[in-house]
Symmetry: C2
Subunit: 349 residues, 2 copies
Amino acid sequence: MRPPAAPKRVTLAQVAELAGVSVMTASYTYNRPGRVSEQARAKVLAAADRLGYAGPDPSARSLRRGSTRTLGVVLGEHLNYAFEDPQAASFLAGIAEVCAGRGYGMTILPVTGAADDAERIRTAAVDGFIVWTTSDDDPVLEAVRAMKRPAVVHGGPAVRGLALVGIDNRAAARAAGAVAFAGAERPAVLSFPLSRERISSVSSGTDPAGVLFPVTRERLEGYRQAAGAAGIAWADVLVAVCARNDAAEAEQVTATLLAAPEPPDAVAAMSDQLAAGVVRAAGAAGLLLPDDLAVTGWDDGAVAAELGLTTVAQSLRDQGTACAYLALGEKPVSTAAPWSVVRRGSTRH
Amino acid sequence: MRPPAAPKRVTLAQVAELAGVSVMTASYTYNRPGRVSEQARAKVLAAADRLGYAGPDPSARSLRRGSTRTLGVVLGEHLNYAFEDPQAASFLAGIAEVCAGRGYGMTILPVTGAADDAERIRTAAVDGFIVWTTSDDDPVLEAVRAMKRPAVVHGGPAVRGLALVGIDNRAAARAAGAVAFAGAERPAVLSFPLSRERISSVSSGTDPAGVLFPVTRERLEGYRQAAGAAGIAWADVLVAVCARNDAAEAEQVTATLLAAPEPPDAVAAMSDQLAAGVVRAAGAAGLLLPDDLAVTGWDDGAVAAELGLTTVAQSLRDQGTACAYLALGEKPVSTAAPWSVVRRGSTRH
DNA sequence: CTGTTAGCGCATTCAA
DNA sequence: TTGAATGCGCTAACAG
């Protein structure tokens, strides 16, 4: 069963005929109002109104001008996660702002990991692509590149032919880790998933090189460097993986860690959400921050300020706008986004 | 400055020529692979590969077949709010699921309240529209109707010619209010904004009829009926409006209410987020739930379960899928969505 | 200010 | 299984 046909369209030609003008005058009425006399304009609009003409057909228009005036945003994994992640929300809002200002649309291209992902990219009627951070081996990246349109990846991986927008995650993790691990003896990392399978796990001495998500990998590398600089062997650092970026799961995972014989005394978390879970678990265990347990988050969202979290500040919204400019084929202010460590009471001084 | 021209497109005709076949054989290779011989297919794909042909042009295809295979989702107010609202996220995920299954795209149409909103609707290359709940007087509704495509409004307002999906907010508020206000003497309502201006305020005996957002209006009406049934005059019921659907603001507003000489002993909130703020304010004031203060939320999100909130359960995700089916021109399972009151420890028994 | 011409790239006919 | 013709609805480019 095919999709129901669109209702019989009224065409510009019909409007023009009823108005007693040429098709071009009708077209100008919609596209270059200044070039049409007041009377002609009135006649065209009256005719359009009588016929119920809703304006030029977008597809025909796109074909004719060779541009759809729409940007495509590729969101991987489950859309649930994508939309529920407050940082992704800010990012999308940044894109939407630019689109709205330019009169552009914004098409969400959900990627499920199934075989038809590439197909969905190929059939997308968009002028440019923005890819939300994904894994090194995601075939969608090649599909996007094959479209030969302006395209940008947020976060990573870096792909030849595609622009890249994001912060230096390694440097930021190194800096945040330095604060988190200062004076600690048994630091731990609360990490995003290490593989597409999103498996929760706890291990130590985790080799970052095996991680396919570049953002996660670089942050692990940064934390490792920070541990080394603090005189702590990476092999002694626990890495606990949360399948979801979710305070509840982080709380549970942290509670388990804290119940161990030698519980961690510092946790560097890859998001404020995860850090919030750590804070809650610490409270439940009767620990005092930062002396019993130091905690750092990531993103400097509203939660971080509320909880007094030391965290990595970055603006996903600004990164979204930068991506949008690149996807429009314009030069953005910069592709290396700024970041900083915001120190609050959750870490030792 | 015009948008940068798309890169010179390789056309199907060029591919066909290089492959030594007709244009139609090339077209069939992409659209009806079964109708093309293995050799012809191979020749076409080889030629496409050599030329870097990325597949049929989506705009041309849409024009030809009269369908864009894309749904438009109209999101009002600030996109920040839209994306940050977890319920909106579920709703979008529900739509995205259906779109992904059908091979459809999903275009976000941000509506800013400016004059060009209608224009953005008119130029959207979509087969159907889904409008996220808005105010009675939103001009976007008329713009959508004028497109004469399948269209559905979520939540409200009801518009002739557009389908409507949502729960019976009045009945649900009456039921939730009955539980919230049971045994209470000074009930209050924590409400969404009453006007587009999103002004925070506290008043009593607020006339629901003046509220332009149908969802908010109907909930107020339901709460009023519940108050009446509990023997409490509506004029004695405080209605506190939060500008944002945000626990932090709700906490602050509630703290103010609780500091009054005759503080409320029951609060019916229009979302779990707002209710969470109430719970926090109550905790800070040293009040015990439900005896000192009864609280109800709305949506039965993760927060509600965590906090033991009595709340109105509904599935925004299912409502999203229902909207998607309607916008595709298919009949959904139902347009009147189910709801129920989930009783937990935050209300009196 | 208005009109004529031409064709964007493709897929639905219909014929071979 | 393949191909030729046709036009989807519109607007750039150029006359008048």
